[in-house]
Symmetry: C2
Subunit: 131 residues, 2 copies
C-alpha cells in the first residue's frame, strides 16, 4: 500500500509519516519499482501506535520508547507503566498551571467593566509590579 493509504489507516498525515522516517522514529519503508514507499499491515500498526501515543500526550521520544517496548517480547510491563505514570504526573502539573491561569483570567475579567470607557482592571493588573 502507498503512503496515503497508510496515512488513512494510521491517523497520521503522509507528511508526518515521511517525517517519522526521516528522524528514524520508524524504519525506512521499502520502495516499489517507481520509488514509492510501500507499507504493510504491520507498518500501519506501528504508525497507529505512534499516533495514539502522541494523542495521549507523549512526545516523540517517549512514543519511541513505548514503541520499542511494544516490539520487545522480553519487555517488563513496569517500564510502560513507569512512563505512563511519569507522564500523568507531568500532565497533572500542567493542568494545575492552566487552571490557575484560567482562574486569574476570570478574576481579572470580573473586575473590568468592559464598556467604551478606558478604565480596566485587566490592564492595571498586567502592569502591576507584584501579583
Amino acid at each position: 500500500m502507498n503512503i496515503s493509504e497508510a496515512a488513512k489507516g494510521s491517523g497520521l498525515s503522509a507528511k508526518t509519516i515521511r517525517y517519522y522516517e526521516e528522524i528514524a522514529l520508524i524504519a525506512p519503508a521499502s520502495r516499489g519499482g517507481n520509488g514509492y514507499r510501500q507499507y504493510d499491515q504491520k507498518a500501519v500498526k506501528e504508525l497507529r501506535f505512534l499516533a495514539h501515543a502522541r494523542e495521549v500526550g507523549f512526545d516523540l521520544d517517549e512514543s519511541k520508547q513505548l514503541l520499542d517496548l511494544s516490539r520487545n517480547p522480553e519487555r517488563q510491563s513496569g517500564h510502560a507503566r513507569d512512563l505512563v505514570m511519569e507522564k500523568s504526573r507531568k500532565l497533572q502539573a500542567r493542568i494545575a498551571q492552566l487552571v490557575a491561569m484560567q482562574k486569574q483570567l476570570l478574576e481579572m475579567a470580573s473586575r473590568c467593566r468592559g464598556d467604551e470607557g478606558p478604565e480596566c482592571a485587566i490592564l492595571e493588573d498586567l502592569a502591576a509590579v507584584e501579583r
Copy 2:
C-alpha cells in the same frame, strides 16, 4: 539602566528582551555611548506588562494587542475584556483536553500490572485500531 537590570526588574531574561526588540514587540532601546541598551522605568514597566501577559497565557501577538491597548488612553475596556474572555475560552478547551488525556493515561495504567512480565494493557491500548 543596562539590560540585565531591566531583566531583573521585569522578570524577562536579557535574551528575551533583545528578542522582543528584534521582532518589534517593543521599540528599540536607546543606546549609551558604548552601544549598550539603556532602559528607564517606563520601559521596564512595559516589559513587565509583557511578562505578566505571557504568564497568564497570552501569546506574543495577543500580549502586543494588550500592550497597545494599555498605551492608548482612548481605549475601550471592552476590547481588553474580549481578549481575556476569548483566551479564557480557549484555555478551558485546552484544559478539558488535557484532563481527558490524563484520565485515559490513568485508566490505561490501572489495567497494567506493571511487573516484570510482558503483558501490558497500555501497549495493547496504544496498538488497538479503535479507541
